[in-house]
Symmetry: D2
């Protein structure tokens, strides 16, 4: 086998998510984790020790001058993503950034443009997209096994921690939206965004929410998020003209189920009929087999860091690139606008 040169990476931010990134970069054959950078040097030092004694760098400026750093992974609070990513890109570094990619669509667009003009990789860490189940869902849709997408229902509810800084949409829906962006052909290209939220406990922000997103071709996606549910549900149903799948992330025995069931009109004739006649056209039902593919056991972040390395080497966009982060952010921002508008 030919030997591929190992890339150097530094992790900025040693708080909640940084350690996961550092551990996976350290374990990857593609990467050489060279430094941890955090304003809190003690926290950086502790993390550096746990991943085998890499350098601790107190200043981002200093970090970005290092020639052994090919890429930086940014795991800091959302409002700092834009300045840090821009500085890194301007220093010629590839960047992977925690979601949300930035705190405004405008900022995210600048980041995407900057990376593009410099020929650098800008990746959004949509970790869920690298789980074996979501990778399989993407395959099933891309290969045409599901047919045309008819509807999508995503439910992410549980008895959740009411967050101090974000509402239930910004806390939970990024997971659903990033997955939809990843698996739908053409990504999350929504025509409009409807959002309905409620704050029945007086928390000062939405604790229960519904997003409804019309998709291309007459399909409809809905995302239901709720911090007040007594039971935990994590399911995504994707209905297609040929088959329908249900992903139940809390069912370890049968995480992904594909149903060869559906309703269809007799299409040949439908094209030649007017609206009224169509409703009288023959509807057919399929009640075929159910199938649950075996999924490998694999840590999603490991696949994410491998994809970042591959994108850099092959000079291509990664699967979850800056555009993907921008599309997800755009839906969330429009949802917030709708909610804000409905209060006025």
């Amino acid at each position: 086998m030919t030997q591929t040169p190992v890339l150097g990476v530094a992790v900025i931010g040693a708080g909640y998510w940084g350690p996961n990134l550092a551990r996976n970069f350290a374990a990857s054959p593609d990467w050489n984790l060279v430094a941890i950078c955090d304003l809190d040097e003690a926290r950086a030092r502790s993390l550096a020790g746990r991943v085998g004694g890499v350098d601790v760098v107190g200043s981002v400026d200093e970090l970005l001058t290092r020639p052994d750093v090919d890429a930086v992974a940014i795991a800091t609070p959302a409002r700092t993503h834009y300045p840090l990513a821009m500085e890194a890109l301007r220093a010629g570094k590839h960047v992977v950034v925690e979601k949300p990619i930035a705190d405004s669509v405008a900022a995210a667009q600048e980041m995407v443009d900057e990376a593009s003009s410099r020929g650098l990789v800008l990746m959004t860490d949509h970790t869920f997209c690298y789980t074996p189940a979501v990778v399989k869902i993407r395959e099933l849709i891309t290969s045409g096994e599901l047919g045309d997408i008819l509807f999508v229902d995503s439910v992410r509810i549980n008895l959740g921690l009411v967050q101090p800084d974000v509402d239930v949409f910004w806390d939970l829906a990024p997971h659903d939206l990033s997955i939809l962006d990843f698996v739908l052909p053409g990504g999350l290209a929504v025509e409009s965004v409807a959002a309905h939220g409620a704050d029945p406990i007086g928390a000062g922000k939405a604790c229960v929410g519904h997003l409804v997103l019309p998709l291309a071709g007459g399909a409809l996606a809905s995302v239901h998020v709720n911090w007040l549910s007594p039971t935990k549900v994590r399911t995504i149903t994707i209905g297609g003209s040929r088959k329908t799948l249900i992903w139940d992330d809390l069912n370890p025995i049968q995480r992904l189920t594909v149903f060869d069931r559906g309703v269809s009109l007799e299409n040949a004739s439908a094209e030649m009929l007017g609206r009224a006649e169509q409703s009288a056209a023959k509807v057919s039902y399929r009640l075929g087999d159910t199938w649950s593919p075996a999924l490998p056991e694999r840590e999603a972040l490991g696949a994410m860091v491998a994809e970042l390395a591959a994108a850099i080497r092959e000079k291509r966009a990664p699967l979850t690139d800056g555009e993907a982060g921008l599309r997800v952010l755009s839906v969330l921002e429009r949802a917030s606008g709708v909610l804000e508008g409905s209060k006025a």
Copy 2:
């Protein structure tokens, strides 16, 4: 015990639902089923034979002149509910009518007014409200066991027959709405109606739909209906400030589950705080016992005909009166208006 005189009833319409009504009236100690009336006399005769040989009457006019008919049960197509009910009320008969109560809110309002001015009972046959599970849910809410209602989510999806005359909202949501009207304190008093529908198979009508209904006190109800789902789901979750319940109508082992779990702010202080401070107030979680009450085995329609008799005798409104039918119809009509508007 004192002897209660038995009431006489006739069933108008011997099609899909009429036989169920006739069978339950015939089996009831409160009622004497005296006649079946249908334009199709052969169908009427067949039904009359199966319930013990009652009279067959070909004309409604003739039926309404009979002094042994105290009440009529109308199980004919929706567009005929209004003229038949009005004629029966004017003839001094009590009326129970299939849902939807009429084909327009205006017509339903006239029916309610007519019955009221004549002191007659007008009942809507919201059969689901008389199932043991729904009766129990009403009790749990009325008694305060759930506390204030925070959110309601109703899901009624399956691989369904695409109906020739109605969309998925009018086909499936009446069940959910009539149940919500029955169990919520004050009935289905919604401030506004949001509706989102899709017709991804080109059926000429919505096959997938979402209703979102803000309730009093900041709560939010949602109803999800879908004819294209590969799996059948019939659940209603009602979240309260004290407890939360889930009704799963397809789980015969544990149809109704009450969770002593929830999220709450420290209320005492919350009243004295502004919005911003509230969000920082202490949130508390309860993770208590789960309980599933035993439910009697009982046919809902049997309880419905008993309630009709009791309402007539006690000269009071039945549990599912004309107003209830009117409230449900009003939500559906407003939903259709929203959908129509969004197409324009």
Copy 3:
């Protein structure tokens, strides 16, 4: 198509099961239901009316002289199966008999011999064997898809009516045993029968029971029956060297599931190794896809009466012949012997 002459059948016994037989014979294109015979003539007349007005015959002797009766279906108490079946066979009639085929193995053996010597069909009505799920299980095993059978576990427990005349083994296990006899290659050929029962409520008979049956090739079958269980379970797991299946008769969404999972030794080498070495041999695991075949909706008894007609026409043994009834009865009789012996 060629026209097949319709066969004539009479049902003896109009009690619990007879009406189901009569209804299915009456609805079958293969059969002409000609008479109902019961000591209780009123009961016979009532049943005859419900299936389209066939003859009522008070005496079996008279019935058996009729030339339009090709076969009789015996649905009377178990102790009468032997005399009735023998009389019918001697009169040249084909016979299908409710399970258990007789009340002793000796009597059943005589019935089998009598039918055989006369070239008549003797069938046992093992209805469960004609359900779509069990037919599919048989196919999966016969085709080799499961590989060699390694173990079978059947669980049939619920809060059951304590029967006045039989214990829990005779009440519930015939279902499991008749299914095993039907699906296992070579039928229920057990080497020995272990039975453990308990009567913890003082009912005077076993209410909880376990059967353990060593099968050919080192496999082991167990049957667990229980009248005292708070939950109802109806599952059969059949483990094979290639795949394993679970039949869950109470799960309408996924009644039959086939798992491409299992454990196996490296067989090539195992043959050449001694016992001790084998235990150190490499064990391999498969964790493949899960699959749930679509099953047609079909009444089992309809398939049973069709099989009876086909066996008569093709002059062959039916799928559930007298030998099958004999094998099931033999296991039950041996189990009772073991239980009786353990008390002594």
Copy 4:
């Protein structure tokens, strides 16, 4: 509060289970972990480092002379439990030993006698007995809430690693047996042991097994263990005369469910009736509520080390004492004898 002197403990064996014991002793306010002892000093040193730098002692003799060691925890291979425990007891140390307590009933009995004669605590580490669910089950039985025990069914099956040194009974059944010993009034006092095993893959030892254990009062316990099952099941059902419970260890949402359902004879009369009359006596059914108690989140081993400390201080037997280990071992040994006998 009064100050309780902290006890000193050493862990012997730093292999699979030793680290869990060491971690829990180190975290306990009751204990001072003073040393790790293992023949493999590097392994001992590594573990000692991870729990805060305690002493490493290469020889058991040396360890037992230390006055700061009040108790030793033995987590070495089963055949060494007896010599190590006896030496420790003779040195005046309290002992907790991994299960199985010893490799023969005779050896275990000597250990129990030695501890008893010296007034020392001998505990068996039946970890499962300290999980919140099992503690709750014990409470429900002890308080009489379940009534008299009628039957117990334990199922512990999965696609398991075929073990090199033990069969499926010795690998899996100790969990079930130790739990039954803990929760049943009077412990695992079985009258006889029936065991049925099979080795259908030629592994040289039983891979599928059934234990059937008659209990006092006519009840029956069964334990089903299987290494070849495609699905993982961990359930124990305990049927009582008043209520029945099901523990499903793999259902995090509803781990423990109590059913107020059951069958009973009319007892008042039953006492005065003979066996035959009893069977005709009236049977009554209860179909009451279902209830699932909230269970605290707690690590079982933490409760185990607290119980050891409490037993030493209060000079009493711990909940899972040497006798408990002896009873479990006795059932396993008798089961092996039965299996061995059936081969002969």
